[in-house]
């Protein structure tokens, strides 16, 4: 089985975000970048599926600048076999990114294409499903459980007030949610091996986007409120404030 994982390099979730001089991108100075946390569930799923099958090939694909090479090497160190970097500054328009990924994935003819359910930078939550539509493949989004048997996938996704069970057959696209697995950390041996694994970098051109970012802004800081009091004795005062001042009770 040939499995592809699409990966994005994103700022660490603990990073403080500062808006850059252009006002449309963030200031990357001093920001630590990591593989998108949801993509790690996809990487783990791909590696585990190949291990279970005892055969197959896993490929990781990223759209990004050369800085993404390091992120791809992390995936290789976890156990992915080969990497492809589609060199581009990227785009805030999910469809522009989906189109270049779809072209690469179509050429590779994969049985299963995995994504994280969203990237924790732009929160677009859309590239996986768009790629599936462009390739006319079945797609299950935000899978928190997944089983694969006899070429059929059954996956569970969290919905409001329940869990939706979805099914499809391969080839397919699945986007991964937390809960699917516990991603492994790269081993020292894996890190050494990753240096020799193939990483194919090639330039791509993203089509003109129909979503454009006009500006970024930091949300207004919340005003620190007040300490109502100490211990359970402060509860009646809190209740009074919630009823009369905040009017939420």
């Amino acid at each position: 089985m040939k499995i592809a994982v699409c990966l994005k390099r994103v700022p660490d979730t603990t990073a403080k975000i500062v808006i850059g001089a252009s006002r449309t991108t963030i200031d990357e100075t001093g920001v630590k970048f990591v593989p998108n946390p949801y993509d790690e569930f996809a990487l783990e799923a791909a590696i585990a599926l190949k291990e279970q099958a005892g055969a197959g090939e896993t490929t990781v694909i990223a759209v990004g600048t050369d800085a993404s090479q390091e992120t791809l090497r992390t995936a290789l160190a976890m156990g992915i076999d080969r990497a492809v970097l589609l060199q581009s500054p990227g785009s805030a328009d999910g469809l522009a990114v989906a189109r270049v990924l779809a072209a690469e994935l179509k050429a590779g003819v994969y049985d299963l294409v995995l994504f994280g359910k969203l990237a924790v930078d732009d929160y677009n939550h859309q590239v996986g499903a768009m790629v599936a539509e462009l390739l006319e493949l079945p797609c299950i989004t935000a899978a928190a459980k997944m089983t694969l048997s006899g070429g059929a996938i059954e996956a569970e996704r969290e919905i409001e007030g329940g869990v939706e069970v979805m099914g499809c057959t391969l080839p397919a696209v699945v986007t991964c949610d937390k809960g699917l697995n516990n991603p492994r950390l790269p081993s020292l041996k894996g890190i050494m091996a990753a240096k020799k694994k193939p990483l194919d970098a090639k330039p791509v051109t993203l089509e003109a986007a129909s979503f454009e970012v006009t500006s970024l802004e930091l949300p207004a800081e919340r005003q620190a409120g007040r300490i109502v009091g100490e211990g359970a004795d402060a509860v009646p005062a809190l209740i009074a404030l919630l009823r009369n001042e905040a009017k939420v009770l």
Binding site: I19, P37, Y38, D93, G94, L95, A98, V120, D121, D122, Y123, H125, Q126, V127, G128, A129, M130, A132, E133, E136, P138, C139, I140, A142, E154, I159, E160, G161, G162, V163, E164, V165, M166, A172, K178, S210, F211, E212, V213, T214, L216, E217, L218, P219, R222, A224, G225, I227, V228, G229, E230, G231, A232, A234, V235, L242, R243, A246, V248, L249
Partner: protein, 321 residues
């Protein structure tokens, strides 16, 4: 601008978020001088669809198919795409269904999609949006320049206005489609549980609860409110105390309830990102220097094991009076 509102139903009844979708669609239609169509998917009649006129739908399009008893991604996206080019904007909710469906429709129409938006306007004939990114650490302002603007709106952000107007229900033809993915049903918990993204009140717990079993205190408080959901910090979800579906923060959910009560949560940057848009924030923590107090409107410094039961008792008194 003609606007299509993709409303949601489950088990043959409209979901509450449907009225919010219409409220957002109305913003676009009213500022540009246009009409709103609501599209309802169902295996048959959907309870509440006759009342959609009163919430802003000029027309209700009813798409029926045996597959539409459950969520049918391929059938729904094919149906919307078959009429989508006739609209200046298509509005979804950023729910499990809307997040899945909106990008499919956008890809079929060859246009961009703006997810989880909190602000919406029309400038000329271009839809402009505001959306929190980096889990709310940054607000992104953008323009959708394609022929049709596809957006999903954050729940609890657009407020429904009932007008009492009638809306006519028209049957909509469903095009032939291939069901590449099928829903095998929805597993529901034993008791109905509100989702943290849709609840009016969210009561969240962190490591200060000490043990998973102590979340019973928060469940009791949530039950006293009645319209509340229990949330959790990343620390307790990673420790396996609570389900990921309850996690509030950057690798969990972003919530905007009327009231957010943080119990035993110190307030890590990634958690604050997920709840800073709540209207009112209450923090209960024994550490008076905890960062959570810097964003809370009201704080109580003290032992949560004493404060929370007292709060539950007082809320219960008010709710039963």
């Amino acid at each position: 601008m003609k606007v299509l509102a993709v409303v949601e139903q489950r088990d043959g009844a409209l979901r509450k978020v449907s009225h919010e979708i219409l409220a957002a669609a109305r913003v676009l239609a009213d500022t540009s001088g246009g009409a709103v169509d609501a599209i309802v998917f169902g295996a048959g009649a959907v309870s509440g669809m006759e009342q959609l006129g009163g919430f802003g739908a000029d027309r209700v399009l009813h798409a029926t198919h045996a597959d539409f008893a459950l969520y049918a991604p391929d059938g729904a996206s094919a149906t919307i795409a078959s009429i989508g080019a006739g609209y200046g904007a298509i509005v979804f909710a950023a729910t499990a269904m809307g997040r899945d469906l909106a990008p499919r429709v956008a890809a079929r129409l060859g246009v961009a999609c703006a997810t989880d938006i909190t602000g919406l306007a029309v400038e000329g004939d271009v839809v402009t949006v505001t959306r929190p990114i980096y889990a709310g650490k940054v607000l992104q302002h953008g323009r959708l320049t394609g022929a049709t603007a596809v957006v999903s709106v954050r729940p609890n952000t657009f407020h429904p206005a009932a007008s009492g107007k009638a809306g006519s229900v028209t049957a909509l033809a469903v095009p032939a489609f291939t069901a590449r993915v099928t829903s095998k049903g929805v597993k529901k918990p034993d008791a109905a549980v509100l989702d943290v993204t849709e609840a009016t009140v969210v009561v969240s717990g962190g490591r200060g609860l000490k043990e998973p079993v102590n979340f019973k205190l928060l469940e009791d408080l949530a039950a006293a409110f009645g319209n509340a959901a229990v949330g959790a910090s990343r620390a307790v979800v990673d420790a396996g105390w609570r389900d990921h579906g309850e996690q509030v923060g950057q690798t969990g959910k972003t919530v905007s309830p009327q009231l957010y009560i943080a119990v035993g949560i110190s307030g890590a940057i990634q958690h604050l990102a997920g709840m800073r848009t709540a209207r009112t924030i209450v923090a209960i923590n024994r550490d008076k220097d905890a960062p959570i107090f810097k964003v809370a409107d009201y704080g109580i410094v003290g032992d949560l094991f004493e404060v929370v039961p007292r709060l539950t008792e007082e809320v219960r008194k008010i709710r039963s009076s």
